[in-house]
């Protein structure tokens, strides 16, 4: 599959001391929604700015839509919505969208037509001819989304697109991302909202202190955490000990002050078919099975695991690395 974004060994140092990116490599396939995750100050926005020629890398090799990063004509096929964007307050929403269409080199008639369509899509048609200065944060975000799509881009780079948007708006934006993917566009999504990323992204990368610590599909990244869990009433059987882990817990409906009366039996790296023999044996012993399911790590669990020190379990401090190599 062709790569929409192919970046290798990207480094960025600010003022000779602050190492925002330390050899980042990211590959995004064409037609997928790619989630770019990381704690505050990890360098996510810096990488996006480098891709969009807003900032210059200290070291870089790579391509965007097959052209070297920084190739201006290629940007006509890229849409970008930065974090904390500010549009001129004296322009209307429609004028903002048309303005960015013109900057992308679109003809007047085409950008007018496209602006109307997009403002309708982001449900801003009633406010399209009012000044941006009168908009709420969520409305500005919707107009920003329309402005980033005005040039009918093949690659859309969105930096926190749901920032300041209410839950209904978030759901609409999520649906739009899925629609973009269905249309064959590539979406590079920079977001803190892990549940949204989990729902729409084909693949993700996690950036911590300027380094990519995990990259792949969510299934690939959470494969190691896949397990089969069986909850039973009472004590765990003695024969379980060599098979897997066990935890004692309260049965459903028990109060917080009650003693645990149930057991959770966990078979690590096991799918449902691997747990059937255990279920048969438990049933044969007449035990009551409360619950049985294949479980895997959530994206949030994966994220927390990725940003934590593997030995100490302490989550990395926010911000880039200052000074020497760490």
């Amino acid at each position: 599959m062709a790569l929409a974004v192919d970046l290798s060994d990207v480094e960025k140092t600010y003022g000779g001391r602050v190492r925002a990116l330390r050899g980042v490599s990211v590959q995004v396939n064409e037609g997928e929604v790619f989630g770019f995750l990381g704690p505050n100050g990890a360098g996510k926005s810096t990488l996006v700015k480098i891709m969009m020629t807003v900032a210059r890398a200290t070291k870089l090799s790579g391509t965007i839509l097959g052209a070297p990063v920084g190739h201006k004509p290629t940007l006509a096929r890229v849409g970008y919505l930065p974090e904390h964007h500010r549009f001129p307050k004296y322009l209307t929403g429609r004028q903002v969208v048309e303005f960015f269409g013109a900057l992308a080199g679109m003809e007047r008639a085409a950008r007018k037509r496209r602006a109307s369509h997009l403002l309708d899509m982001v449900r801003m048609e009633d406010w399209a001819d009012r000044k941006v200065g009168t908009y709420s944060k969520g409305m500005q975000q919707r107009v920003g989304l329309a402005a980033s799509l005005v040039n009918d881009p093949r690659l859309i780079v969105l930096d926190e697109p749901t920032d300041g948007v209410d839950p209904v708006g978030r759901r609409e934006i999520r649906d739009m991302l899925i629609q973009m993917r269905n249309e064959g566009r590539t979406v590079f999504l920079n977001s803190h909202l892990l549940s949204e990323v989990e729902q729409v992204c084909n693949r993700v990368a996690i950036l911590v202190q300027g380094r990519v610590v995990a990259q792949g599909t969510i299934d690939e990244l959470t494969a190691a955490s896949r397990r089969f869990e069986i909850a039973i009433e009472g004590e765990p059987p003695a024969w379980w000990e060599p098979l897997g882990r066990v935890t004692r817990e309260r049965a459903p409906g028990q109060g917080l002050d009650a003693a645990p009366s149930a057991s959770r039996l966990v078979l690590l790296r096991t799918e449902a078919n691997g747990g059937q023999a255990s279920i048969d044996r438990l049933r044969a012993e007449g035990r009551t099975i409360l619950f049985a399911a294949t479980v895997r790590e959530s994206l949030e669990d994966l994220f927390i695991r990725a940003v934590a020190d593997p030995t100490t379990g302490v989550v990395s401090a926010p911000g880039a690395t200052i000074g020497g190599v760490s």
């Binding site: 600010y14 700015k49 969009m52 020629t53 807003v54 900032a55 210059r56 201006k72 004509p73 290629t74 940007l75 006509a76 890229v78 970008y80 919505l81 930065p82 904390h84 964007h85 500010r86 549009f87 001129p88 307050k89 004296y90 322009l91 004028q95 303005f99 960015f100 013109a102 900057l103 992308a104 080199g105 679109m106 003809e107 007047r108 402005a147 980033s148």
Partner: protein
């Protein structure tokens, strides 16, 4: 072209949204209206619509034609006082924020991510800053054209020369404003530094003019002493002591003259590398007011006629008429190259620095 037009249209909308833009345009029309109220006839000045008239031996249509009268008013009151000072200050206040707004966090990112070179983006934004002044002066020149046409019965298209001249003069200041705005991202800092730079230009101009007057007067004094000495030496009856005194005075004056020239050289060199706003306005005046006697303001005639008087820079032998003639010759010797080209070179250097900084900066 689509991108450049979009930036200009956005700039117009920005200006349109600024109250100061409309206030400034309104004041321009008022200024033209005020000088349209004044008329000139065979006896003196009249003020419409009040019917007031003031008899004057110097300001009547026998001395100055209505055409020259209005041109002088346009040049001295309209261009030099209004456009050159007050409207320029208003324009600076209105446009000083254009570059800081452009480079402020959140507004530049989406523009830089478009297929448009940074240099083109910056220079186009810079030109949109000049658009303010261009619109101002165009409205002013058009209103003046109509007033002079209707009141003076002369339709003078050369008044529109004020548009490029004033815009170029404004650009000398605006390039500094843009550079400081880019470096500091602060409108206030850009305004303050530009105001200081403007004062510096006025200071250098005044200083150089003063030193130039002194230098010219000193040179004329040397010539006068030389002539007097030659005459004394030729006259057999002349007292040898007088000749000796003149010789000594000549040596002293030559030494003083050398000092004047040396100081003037340095000040002139400093002025050469800086933009020359006032000289540029004077060039416009020369083009608009063909009659040399009328140049330099409404008092120029009186000055030219006054051939008597006291010492000039302490030099009793210098004739005022010769001094003014020498000044005029010096002024005319400072041609387009020295005035406009060196000023534009300064602007080009400042703009180049700003453009390179803009192109290399991370946002």
């Amino acid at each position: 072209m689509i991108q450049t037009m979009a930036l200009f249209v956005a700039a117009y909308r920005e200006l349109n949204a600024r109250k100061l833009f409309w206030l400034s345009l309104g004041l321009s029309v008022v200024v033209v209206g005020i000088f349209g109220m004044f008329g000139i006839d065979q006896t003196g000045i009249s003020v419409w619509p009040f019917g007031w008239s003031f008899d004057s031996p110097f300001f009547n249509s026998n001395v100055i034609s209505p055409e020259s009268f209005y041109k002088l008013m346009f040049m001295n009151l309209g261009v030099k006082a209004w456009l050159g000072l007050f409207a320029t200050a208003l324009a600076l206040i209105s446009t000083a924020g254009i570059i800081p707004d452009l480079v402020s966090a959140g507004s530049i990112d989406m523009m830089l991510a478009k297929p448009l070179s940074r240099a083109r983006l910056f220079l186009t934004k810079y030109l949109t800053g000049l658009l303010f002044t261009a619109l101002q002066v165009t409205v002013f020149a058009l209103a003046s054209f109509l007033v002079i046409g209707l009141r003076g019965r002369v339709w003078e298209p050369s008044l529109f020369l004020a548009v490029p001249y004033v815009v170029v003069i404004y650009s000398y200041l605006y390039c500094v404003c843009a550079l400081v705005g880019l470096l500091t991202r602060s409108t206030i800092a850009a305004l303050i530094v530009t105001a200081i730079f403007w004062l510096l230009l006025l200071g250098v101009h005044s200083g150089e003019s003063l030193i130039n007057y002194g230098t010219i007067a000193s040179s004329l004094e040397v010539s006068a002493i030389e002539a007097e000495l030659a005459k004394a030496q030729a006259d057999a009856d002349e007292d040898p002591e007088t000749v000796a005194e003149l010789t000594e005075e000549l040596a002293s004056q030559r030494s003083s003259d050398a000092t004047w020239h040396s100081v003037h050289w340095w000040v002139f060199a400093a002025k050469t590398v800086l933009p020359k706003a006032i000289e540029s306005l004077n060039m416009l005046e020369r083009q608009l007011v063909v009659d040399a006697r009328l140049r330099g303001g409404l008092g120029a005639d009186a000055e030219a006629r006054d051939e008597t008087g006291g010492e000039i820079f302490g030099h009793g032998r210098v004739e005022r008429a010769k001094f003014i003639e020498a000044l005029r010759a010096d002024e005319n010797s400072r041609g387009v190259w020295w005035v406009l080209v060196t000023s534009l070179v300064f602007e080009g250097v400042v703009l180049s620095i700003a453009t390179v900084l803009f192109c290399r900066r991370d946002f």
